[in-house]
């Protein structure tokens, strides 16, 4: 009796374990199946231009996108006929409009976080998908891919982006000092190393002029004394929004008495960035780094 019982006990445990495992697999499949189906059918709004661009490159068209500031040249042509939502601080899209178009999922940005809880109350899932640093680009694409059921396409997009970025960031011996300033006004807000534009400039080989300033926001009002002392070789101005006045913007910087002694102004190396390329993350990272190197860093 003792021998039989001892022999049957492990067998019973093995069968019990198998049954449990099978149940767990079945439960997992049952939970995953409707989710995967929904991913194909769900109505997605991409407020962040990065998410809109990534989605369309993965073959999924959002039902609406957020407005792009500073021109629409970076917008994928396939998104041009998609409904565009106006965004306003700090909520992002108008919540009544969102309630009307009833998306299942919204790819948003932390800059619109104040509207997130209200969207959630409307029954909308909100996912932040707007990288603020180069290191977040590929993980964000993977996240978007997972949420819309296009993980394989996300992988392919990442591979192609990596190829372009690697080409654009080939080692260079040119490291000019570059000051990047946001907007023009009574104060110059300098891009710091942790800003999106600052990271792109450094990836292109530029030596970003920050005077050692740090700020979690990525921008700081840099002393003109530091600008004169560090003497940038290149100054890039990033206008707010509308870039129609590019000529005027460059003129203003070139005539700024405080900066006239810098190499950048003396040698006519004052450039104006367009299309929010140094402010707004996009899937065109490699192209923009390439542009910085070929247009601004060339002939230095």
């Amino acid at each position: 009796m003792t021998t039989v019982a001892a022999r049957t006990q492990p067998r019973f445990n093995r069968i019990h374990g198998l049954v449990m495992l099978l149940a767990a697999v079945l439960l997992g499949l049952a939970l995953a199946a409707p989710h995967a189906e929904a991913a194909g059918k769900q109505r997605v709004v991409a407020i962040s231009p990065f998410a809109a661009s990534a989605m369309i490159k993965m073959g999924v068209k959002p039902i609406a996108i957020g407005q792009t500031i500073g021109g629409s040249r970076r917008l994928d042509p396939r998104l041009r006929n998609v409904k565009t939502l106006k965004l306003s601080h700090p909520n992002g899209p108008n919540l009544e409009v969102m309630a009307k178009i009833k998306p299942d999922l919204v790819f948003s940005s932390t800059r619109w976080s104040k509207g997130t809880s209200a969207m959630k109350r409307l029954g909308i899932r909100v996912v932040y998908a707007d990288p603020t640093g180069l290191g977040q680009v590929y993980p964000t694409i993977r996240k978007i891919g997972r949420k819309i059921g296009r993980s394989a396409q996300a992988g392919r997009l990442i591979a192609s982006m990596k190829k372009r970025v690697n080409r654009a960031t080939k080692p260079t011996t040119k490291h000019p000092k570059i000051l990047v300033v946001l907007g023009i006004g009574t104060t110059a807000m300098a891009f710091l190393k942790n800003s999106w534009g600052g990271q792109l400039v450094r990836a292109a080989g530029g030596n970003l002029v920050t005077g050692g300033a740090t700020n979690s926001g990525g921008f700081a009002r840099l002393s003109d004394e530091v600008v004169v002392a560090q003497n940038p070789d290149i100054i890039v101005v990033v206008p707010h929004g509308n870039s129609d006045d590019i000529g005027q913007v460059a003129d203003y910087i070139e005539n700024n008495e405080a900066w006239q002694t810098t190499n950048a102004v003396k040698n006519g190396k004052v450039f104006v960035s367009v299309d929010n390329e140094l402010l707004q993350a996009g899937t065109d990272v490699g192209q923009i780094i390439g542009k910085i190197r070929s247009k601004w860093l060339k002939n230095w």
Binding site: I69, S88, H89, L182, G183, I184, G185, T186, T187, M189, T210, G211, G212, A213, N215, F219, A220, R221, L222, S223, D224, E225, V226, V228, A229, N231, P239, H240, G241, D245, Q248, V249, Y252, N255, N256, E257, A258, Q260, T261
Partner: protein
């Protein structure tokens, strides 16, 4: 007070984001040979900024003294005649609607500051009962509210451009060389001269309208001229340094508490010196405390001025 101003001006020239030995600062000022970068920083950045701080601080101190005397109201400041609201709106028009035309900002701030004051004077000084102090103050509050609402409206339409406007709104000097002063100095000159002419009439006005009239003064004209001088000075100050009207309220009180007299032949010039000294000192702090990042001067002005003011107030009581 003169000593305080000289000390603040010396500190403003000696300290900045870039360390320059004191000897080099003095050599630059006396035209001797120094490294090119030090020369540029002193001549192009620090010197014009120090002069701006002195002129703007003096202008706001005098504007406050003029207004408090003219309106016989200790709470009067450039806010009360709408200048701050108007100048803020003028600046926002340029910064938010046409940022590329930022070179026009001082002129736009000046023009709208004066326009706001003009509207207040039109409402406050004309018609039946014109020149009544309560009417002038209420008209000022209404016009200021109107321009503030317009400014807020603009800011909500262009939220992405607001960061560039913040430094103007909280008040701050910039290192733009002599450009601003070259454009605005005539307004300062007119304002200071008008204010100087108002010293004796304002003293007579302190005795009351009836007494002033009995010795041949015209209270309504004195009030209007003094308020006009204050409006010109405050608008010119806002054109260069943004909205620092608080200085105009604080300084004359501080000066009266220090001197123990309301006499304008004392209050007006000493307010000019005190305003200049306080703004120059606050600007030096704002430039150096978080170097190389520059902070707006407004909060430092309050940090320096308010404790001193409260201490004097407590002592006086």
């Amino acid at each position: 007070m003169l000593f305080a101003l000289v000390a603040a001006a010396c500190a403003s020239l000696a300290f900045g984001a870039v360390h320059i030995p004191l000897g080099e600062v003095l050599d630059t000022l006396f035209g001797r040979q120094v490294p090119e970068t030090s020369k540029q920083i002193i001549e192009v950045l620090r010197l014009p900024r120090t002069v701006e701080a002195i002129v703007v601080g003096a202008a706001l101190g005098v504007a406050g003294a003029c207004l408090q005397g003219a309106l016989n109201n200790p709470l009067a400041s450039p806010d009360v005649i709408g200048v701050t609201g108007g100048a803020g709106f003028g600046a926002m028009l340029v910064i938010l609607l046409s940022p590329a035309s930022v070179a026009l900002l001082p002129l736009s701030a000046l023009a709208f500051g004066l326009l706001a004051a003009l509207l207040v004077f039109l409402i406050g000084f004309t018609g039946r009962g014109g020149g009544n102090i309560t009417r002038i103050i209420l008209a000022g509050i209404a016009i200021a509210a109107l321009f503030s609402a317009a400014t807020a409206g603009l800011m909500s339409v262009y939220p992405d451009r607001v960061p560039n406007a913040v430094f103007f709104l909280v008040g701050g000097l910039t290192s733009t060389g002599w450009d601003n002063l070259e454009t605005i100095w005539p307004y300062f000159a007119v304002g200071f001269v008008l204010a100087a002419f108002m010293i004796r009439p304002l003293d007579r006005l302190m005795l009351g309208d009836d007494v002033a009239a009995s010795v041949g003064s015209r209270p309504r004209l004195i009030r209007l001229t003094a308020a006009l001088a204050a409006a010109i000075l405050a608008s010119a100050a806002a054109a260069i340094a943004g909205l620092l009207a608080f200085l105009g309220l604080l300084i004359p009180h501080l000066v009266r508490l220090l001197g123990g007299t309301n006499n304008h032949s004392y209050v007006m010039p000493v307010s000019a010196l005190a305003g200049a000294a306080l703004l120059t000192a606050a600007d030096t702090l704002a430039r150096t405390i978080a170097s190389p990042v520059e902070m707006p001067v407004g909060p430092f002005l309050v940090l320096l001025g308010v404790p001193l003011f409260l201490w004097l107030l407590r002592k006086a009581v």
